[in-house]
Symmetry: C2
Subunit: 358 residues, 2 copies
DNA sequence: TTGTACGCGTTATCAT
DNA sequence: ATGATAACGCGTACAA
C-alpha cells in the first residue's frame, strides 16, 4: 500500500507549486502531520519546543490550513447564508452589516445572495447557498413558496427570518410587527384629526411587510368609520426617492384635498416631502407626512420627519446570535418581537381648518 | 481492507440522520457512486434510463452534493473574499450589491468582511478570508500594510482593489481618480470666483481616497495663487449626516466669510446643506456646496446638489468580471480607470459680490 | 457505458 | 507528548 511519501511524490509536477500540507510542515519540523494539527488546534498539548519548530516550519513554507479539508473532516463550513432582496437599501445594508459584525467574532461569515424583490426564483438561490455549505440561513419576511418551506424543513438547518415578526409561523422570526408599525402612524394621524390620508407603499406582491402595512392602513380607516376610500399607491423600489416624489405629485394633483400621507419607507417620505415643498405646500401645515424606517437623514430634514424607527442593526445582531446559539449551544431559535415605534418629529400636525375647501 | 459498505456501517449511529452520500444514492438506484457523480457532472455520458433512476433516488434521499468534499477534490470553493470598510454606506453597499449580482451568474459568491475604517487589523481579516478558501480578493483603496502586500504576493490569488484607480500600483485597481474627482469640484468653484473655500472630509488616516481628495483641494488653492489657508475638517463617518451638519455649523461660525464648501461625500454635503439652510443662509447665493458620490437623493434636494458621480455599480461589476476572468480564463487583471465626473446642478454659484463684508 | 481504486488534506481514535 | 491509521465525500484514471 502506498505510503504518504510516495503518494506525495506522485503529485503533479506541473508549473503550479503544490500547496504545502500538514505532512510537509511536519517533515520540515521533524514531526508527524498529526502533531502539526495539534500544534494549531490544541497547542497546549504539544511541547513548547516542538510547537516553536512547527510554527517556524509553517511560516517558512507559507503554510495555511486547507479550509475544504477541514470542513470535510469537521462537517462544518462556518458559513451562514443570507438571502436578502438587495443590499442597495439602507435598512438591509445596516441589518447585514450588523449581522456580519456579530458573526465575525465567532469565526463565522455570511454568504450573501440578493434576490431582488422578485420572489419567484428564491428557491434556487436557497438551494445554491445550502449546497455551498451554509450551516444556517437568514431570510427576510414570510416564506411563501412551499418548495422553500419543504426544503428548509428537510434540511434540518437552523433558519431565522427577520424584518417581520410572525407569531403564527413555524419558521422562527426575529423582527417587528409591521402591521402595528404602520397602524401607529395612521392612528396618530387620525387622532390628529386627519380624514383624508393616502399611502405610498412599495410593491406588495410576495412582500408580507408591505401587505401588513397596507392592511393596517385600510383597517385604521375602516375602524375610524370613514367611508371614503383612501388611495394606496404601490411603486417601485429602485430610484425610490424619485418615485416617492412622482407619486406624491400625482397624488396631490388627483386628490387636492389630501391632508396627510403615510409612507412605507423613508425613501418615499423624503421624496414626497421634497416634492410637496417644491409644489409650494408647507409641511406639516398643508400636508402631514409620516415615514417608516427612521433613516439617519430623517431627523435632519426640514421639517424633521416623523417616522417609525426600524431596529435594523438590532435585528441583524439578534439573528446572528440566534443562529450562533443554534449551532454551538444547540438551542432552538425562538421568535422574538422587537420594538418599532413611531418617533414624533415635525412633519405631522393637525389638518388645516376647512379654509382650504373654500 | 475495509470496503465502502462496512465503513458505512461504522458511521456514528447517533440521533442525527447521516447525510446521504453518492454511494447511498447509487445503492438505491442500483449503480455505483461513480455513476452518480457522472450523472451530476456529465449527464451526457450516462444512459438516460440510469440518469433518471439516479435523479429519482437522489430526490428520494433528499441528496445534495457535499460542498466541502467537492471543494477538497477540485481545489475550488467558488468564493471570492470582499474586504470592505462597511456596508453601512450607500456607495459600498451599491458596489457590493453589484459585485454580488455579477458573480452569481457564474456560480460564485462573495464572503464579505467589514473592517471598519480602522485599517490596523485588516491583515487578520484577510488571512481569515483566505483560509476560509477565498479564490480571489476584492479590496478597497490602496493597500498600505506591508504584511498584507506580502501575504497577497505569496498567496498567488487574483486580487483587485477598487474605488481608487492607482496607476503606480503592483496590485491592479479598478476605480476612479480620487484626486481628479475632487480637483474638478474645487477648480469649478475657483472658476466661479470663489476664494474662500472649506473642505469637509472623512478621516484620512489609512484612507488614500480621502488623502487624494484633500491633496487635490490644497493643490488647487496653491495653484490658484491663494495664500490664505483653507480649512479642512476631517470628521467621523458614523452619523455622517449629523456630523456634516455639525461641521458646517462650526465652519460657518468660525469662518463667516466662507463662500463655498466642498464635501468628500454626499453624506456630509447633505448635512451641510440642511444646516446652512437652518442657519438662514441661502444655497447657493450665500454659500455654495459641492458633494461627492452622487447619492440618488442628491438631485432631489433643494437646491439640487452639484456633486461628483461615483460609478459604484460599475466598479462592482467590473471587479467581479475581472476576478472571474482571472479564474476561468486565467487572464491577468488589468487596472482600469473609470470616469467620475462632476454633475452640475444648483448648489453652486458665483460668490456674492462683496456686500457681505460690509 | 459503467465500476474499481485511490487521493484530495484534515482530524479523531487509539496505541505507544 | 507523539505517531500510525482511518475516515470525511467526491472526482477521475484506468480497467472492464
Amino acid at each position: 500500500m502506498a505510503n504518504q511519501k510516495s503518494v506525495r511524490s506522485k503529485r503533479k509536477t506541473g508549473n503550479k507549486p503544490a500547496r504545502p500540507r500538514m505532512a510537509d510542515v511536519g517533515k520540515l519540523a521533524g514531526v508527524s502531520a498529526c502533531t502539526v494539527s495539534r500544534a494549531f488546534n490544541s497547542p497546549e498539548t504539544v511541547r513548547p519546543q516542538i510547537l516553536e519548530k512547527v510554527h517556524k516550519a509553517a511560516k517558512e513554507l507559507n503554510y495555511s490550513l486547507n479550509p475544504a479539508a477541514k470542513a470535510l473532516r469537521l462537517q462544518q463550513t462556518h458559513i451562514f447564508g443570507v438571502i436578502i432582496p438587495t443590499l442597495n437599501h439602507a435598512m438591509f445594508a445596516e441589518l447585514v452589516n450588523s449581522f456580519q459584525s456579530t458573526l465575525s467574532e465567532s469565526g463565522y461569515a455570511p454568504v450573501i445572495i440578493t434576490t431582488g424583490f422578485d420572489n419567484r426564483n428564491i428557491f434556487d438561490h436557497i438551494r445554491a447557498i445550502v449546497e455551498r455549505g451554509a450551516e444556517g440561513l437568514l431570510m427576510v419576511g414570510r416564506v411563501e413558496d412551499p418548495r422553500v418551506r419543504e426544503f428548509i424543513e428537510r434540511s434540518h438547518l437552523p433558519v431565522v427570518t427577520t424584518y417581520s415578526y410572525l407569531e403564527d409561523e413555524s419558521i422562527p422570526s426575529i423582527g417587528f410587527d409591521n402591521y402595528q408599525s404602520a397602524r401607529q402612524s395612521v392612528d396618530y394621524l387620525l387622532a390628529l384629526g386627519h380624514t383624508k390620508i393616502a399611502m405610498i407603499a412599495g410593491p406588495s406582491q410576495g412582500n408580507d411587510r408591505q401587505q401588513s402595512r397596507i392592511q393596517a392602513f385600510r383597517d385604521a380607516r375602516e375602524m375610524a368609520g370613514i367611508k371614503e376610500e383612501w388611495p394606496v399607491v404601490e411603486n417601485a423600489y429602485d430610484s425610490a426617492y424619485a418615485s416617492g416624489a412622482n407619486v406624491m405629485h400625482s397624488l396631490l394633483v388627483s386628490h387636492p384635498d389630501l391632508t396627510a400621507v403615510v409612507c412605507s419607507s423613508d425613501t418615499f417620505a423624503i421624496g414626497a416631502l421634497q416634492e410637496a415643498k417644491r409644489m409650494g405646500l408647507r409641511v406639516p401645515e398643508d400636508v402631514s407626512i409620516i415615514g417608516h424606517d427612521d433613516f439617519e437623514l430623517a431627523q435632519l430634514l426640514d421639517p424633521a420627519l416623523s417616522t417609525v424607527k426600524v431596529p435594523a442593526a438590532e435585528m441583524g445582531k439578534r439573528c446572528a446570535e440566534a443562529l450562533l446559539n443554534a449551532k454551538v449551544g444547540n438551542n432552538p431559535i425562538v421568535s422574538r418581537k422587537l420594538n418599532a415605534s413611531l418617533i414624533l418629529r415635525d412633519s405631522a400636525a393637525p389638518p388645516k381648518t376647512k379654509t382650504k375647501a373654500a
